[in-house]
Amino acid sequence: MSDLKKEAFDSDALESDLFETQEFVLNLGPQHPSTHGVYRARLVLNGETIVSAENKIGYLHRGIEKIAEGLTYAQFAPYTTRFDYCSGALQPWAYALALETLGGIEVPERAEYLRVIVGELQRVASHLIMIASFALDFGAWTPWAYAFNAREGINNLLEEISGSRMLVNYIVYGGVNAEVPEGWVERAKAELDKILYRLDDFDKVLSGNEIFLGRTKGIVPVSAEEAIEWGFTGANLRASGVAFDLRKTSPYSVYDRFAFDMAVIKGEGDCFDRYWLRMMEMRESVKIVRQALEKLPAGECRAKVSKVWRPAAGEGYALVEAARGVQGYQVVSDGSTKPFRVHMRSPSFCHIGIIPAKAPGITIQDFISFMASLDFVLGEIDR
């Protein structure tokens, strides 16, 4: 084959020489079915291939961190659930830990166990949402409904203990808000079996599906170095092969008392790995909840803390492994009943930073899978 012919068969040559193409700008969002909130990506497209992408955030900014300065410590706790609304029950945990380090409060053991139970149940529910929306972004409606059905059981459990299904304000400084109702532990145990059964369903309908593998395997891989460089935490980081989980590496609460594995995938760090890691992590979470329910000690569920609480002037900082990654709260006290400053470290905010770096060269379809696999929530990006 002559050089001329070779050139003609080269796809780049085809694009540049034979056809005249034109780039155009597409604003993906803020109202788009698969941006999972009011996120906007300004895409420059050549056909369906992305030339460059730009993050546009701020559509959900509510100024919650500023609101905190006008409320007492206890009053602000429910606001924290509005950050990552997909895992409401996990949200006040870091805030409570920060306050406890600030005020030096000792948390009763039963409260620690209840925190772990509620937190891990919420993590499963949150990962189920991720799996559901991930599947839905490929047009798989049935797994989406399966996941939301499974999440329904967890929501019912959370509703029983806190009165709220989504924005669960259960973990408060000094312990947890209320004692669990009668028979709740048994119902929770029964629910765990249902969740495991449902996870197997996912493996049948989704994990081994040839089309699903084709859509996710090798799509937008994020290497370990890149993940660290862009500040990845949580499931996205572990999917890139970095063994970092606060529950294992620096255990807080009572996580050191349970036997569970840190889910890590030493692979490409592609979309499938990010999906599969969450499946693994849900199974681990179920293990933790089961052990915690078995071992649940008797006693008080909240330390004696006065309603109008004045911690000494100072700072408290605490980190927890939330559903989407490491979540931190910085609380500064000036000795009054209201915090001087509250700041939150949100994992999703760091995760979307990689989007403009990774988007060029991929198609819209892969871009959608990539966004879904990062599993960001706009509530904690914009705050």
Partner: protein, 352 residues
């Protein structure tokens, strides 16, 4: 007027298996009248099918995903499509200012016309055929492929980037998948020796074509899903990528026409599959048209099952499946069919 009523009476008599009188032969102008009557019949069938299919899809989808589906309006939610129709009729149909108005407005009409025309070509039972063409299958494929133009008109005329991208995908997809579909049908045509849909039905009196052409059937099912742009090939209106694809900018009744045409085409394509592979209206005991409807709905249920189980394939893989897998296989199938027919003729009739 009396003639017209007689003709109408006779047409509906066809459904009860009573042979028609030879009125059409007696009066030459009756042919035109017949065509008119049949067109109304086809349109009624179109509308009824759309209503049933919209209900069926929502209900079946509900059961697949452990939901209940529509169950509030009427018994089993059967009146839900009527409710939807009233809702959608009462909606304002805004034309975007930047749209190419003529193309924008013509596209839904065109897509509906195409799908009604397809209904006119199908043999619903012995003697129940609106238009009897000796090149029926060819005409059917030709008409169904014009859907591409309507979709591209909608995508271009809307002057919306999502619509345009959806429309472009459609052209690539539907045109590509027409090739394996046509190739899979050619085997049937070779077997029955006719392009006439009625003759193809008659040729399957003893043995359905699915037994003789299993590979072609699989290819047909795959490319039918692609032609209908339903999951796993729903690229054109991939909600998660292009919001609603080519009909993003349509609302009210204009959107409804696209929506209804999609379901109407589902029935037409399933009916074609039944005629080609599953014996058409052949069947024991019951009248032919009942068999036809039963088989078609069974086939539709199969297509719904596929749709609600699988997810959307990647665009490049869709094209690869078409050009590198389906077309070569269908060509090989064609060769095998030809050789098989010749061998059969050699051994049974002693001629080559």
């Amino acid at each position: 007027m009396v003639d017209f009523l007689t003709a109408l009476f006779n047409f509906w008599q066809g459904f009860w298996g009573v042979p028609k009188t030879s009125l059409a032969e007696a009066l030459p102008w009756m042919d035109i009248l017949w065509a008119f009557v049949y067109l109304i019949g086809a349109f009624v069938l179109w509308a009824v099918n759309v209503i049933i299919l919209i209900w069926l899809e929502r209900r079946v989808a509900g059961f697949f995903s452990e939901r209940v589906g529509p169950n509030r309006v009427g018994p089993l939610g059967l009146l839900q499509p009527i409710n939807d129709a009233i809702k959608i009729l009462s909606k304002e149909s805004v034309i975007p200012q930047a749209a190419d108005k003529f193309i924008y407005m013509a596209a839904p009409l065109l897509i509906m016309t195409i799908s009604v025309t397809m209904y006119g070509l199908l043999p619903y039972g012995p003697g129940i055929r609106p238009i009897s063409l000796n090149v029926g299958i060819l005409f059917f494929l030709a008409v169904s492929s014009t859907t591409t133009i309507a979709v591209l008109m909608a995508g271009w005329g809307s002057n919306n980037k999502y619509s345009l991208l959806g429309g472009m995908r459609t052209v690539a997809q539907i045109i590509s998948y027409e090739i394996p579909m046509a190739l899979s049908i050619i085997g049937i045509v070779m077997l029955s020796g006719s392009l006439d849909l009625g003759a193809i039905t008659d040729a399957q009196k003893n043995l359905w074509n699915i037994v003789l052409q299993p590979i072609a059937f699989v290819i047909f099912v795959i490319s039918a899903q692609a032609e209908l742009t339903r999951s796993p090939f729903d690229m054109t209106e991939a909600e998660q990528e292009f919001v609603a694809g080519y009909h993003t900018e349509y609302m009210g009744m204009r959107f409804a026409l696209f929506f209804m045409a999609e379901y109407a085409n589902l029935f037409a394509m399933a009916a074609l599959g039944v005629i080609l592979f599953l014996g058409g209206s052949n069947g024991p005991f019951l009248p032919g048209w009942i068999w036809f409807i039963l088989k078609t709905y069974a086939f539709i249920m199969f297509l719904l099952w596929i749709r609600w189980t699988l997810l959307r394939i990647r665009v490049n893989r869709m094209m690869m499946l078409n050009w590198k897998v389906l077309i070569p296989i269908s060509l090989v199938n064609l060769l095998l069919t030809g050789v098989g027919i010749k061998l059969w003729q050699y051994f049974t009739e002693g001629r080559v």
